[in-house]
Symmetry: C2
Subunit: 206 residues, 2 copies
Amino acid sequence: MKSPKISEAVVRRLPIYLRYLNELEKNGVTTVSSQELGQRLDLNPAQIRKDLAYFGEFGKKGIGYDVGYLIEKIRNILKLNRIIPVALVGAGNLGRALCNYNAYLRDNMKIVAVFDASPDKIGQQINNLTVQPMEALAARMAELKVRIGIITVPAAEAQQVANQFVEAGVEAILNFAPVIIRVPASVRVHHADFTADLQSLAYYLD
Amino acid sequence: MKSPKISEAVVRRLPIYLRYLNELEKNGVTTVSSQELGQRLDLNPAQIRKDLAYFGEFGKKGIGYDVGYLIEKIRNILKLNRIIPVALVGAGNLGRALCNYNAYLRDNMKIVAVFDASPDKIGQQINNLTVQPMEALAARMAELKVRIGIITVPAAEAQQVANQFVEAGVEAILNFAPVIIRVPASVRVHHADFTADLQSLAYYLD
């Protein structure tokens, strides 16, 4: 399913389609048009049709997309049906907030371990997770077969945490620290940058 | 400067270029090639050249881009030199974490007011900001000329907060609640969705 023709921009839009489709399904809606998707998600309908056409002929002219079928297709494309354990380093405000999102993730993709360097934080409970010391990271991540790491430490500590994640064998990192981290080419990094979100919104102000 | 030809995907990449260029400038680097930018940011160099070409001929063949000049150009395109006051509703873990990012924002674009409905939170200090009651929102936002609103409340409360922001005259909303909010077409909404970030990373796992 992984085709080199699919750009990161498309891959990043698929979860956004998925979120809205899940909401439609919850409300009993069975069919949706690209026009309606576009209106709700502030995207061009032609763009949506083009994105979804990468993966096959899902829609029917004049009828639209079958919601349940499209959900399953997108989940398959993103391979979300696999078990994907996630670890987080940095149990501050942001780290705690992200752990609270666990409730919105399906059972197969969840934060399963939280680490912090600060003696104050080690041993604290965040929902069902106990904050563990950095010394435990490698062993615990191997045990839990963690595949994705989340970084929510201050900028100055982010690279060191990234190095530890790489040594522990993560395949992907979601970095919330406002700094660019360097990792081997085999590890995928996404920067989740709140300031970049705000700056791109500024473009649309009059 | 606002051209209808510029897609949201391009607008969203500009702050990412800006962040790296700022880092280069801080380290005394004066010139950078699209190859180097691409390698650091995990983007295709041709894509970067195409993005920047929307706004004029910034690069020189065989030499690359002048870092300082490009920073100023991107800041102008995003119109970041204006004063852009931002308000936030929801003083939980995520709201507090975002207020801490204020230190990374330039003086002209900052969170200037924080609101919450909970009596426990009203009056609390987050850095230099005092959490204020929702009843104060309209008056305080008018006074501070707030242009962008940030939503960090639970999903069930997000739509109501969006309505209040719209009534108070915001032009753009950054929504962190895991739910799709409805606003008039004149208001721009970006969803900052942590679960979508994780799901798009899953695509790149083997």
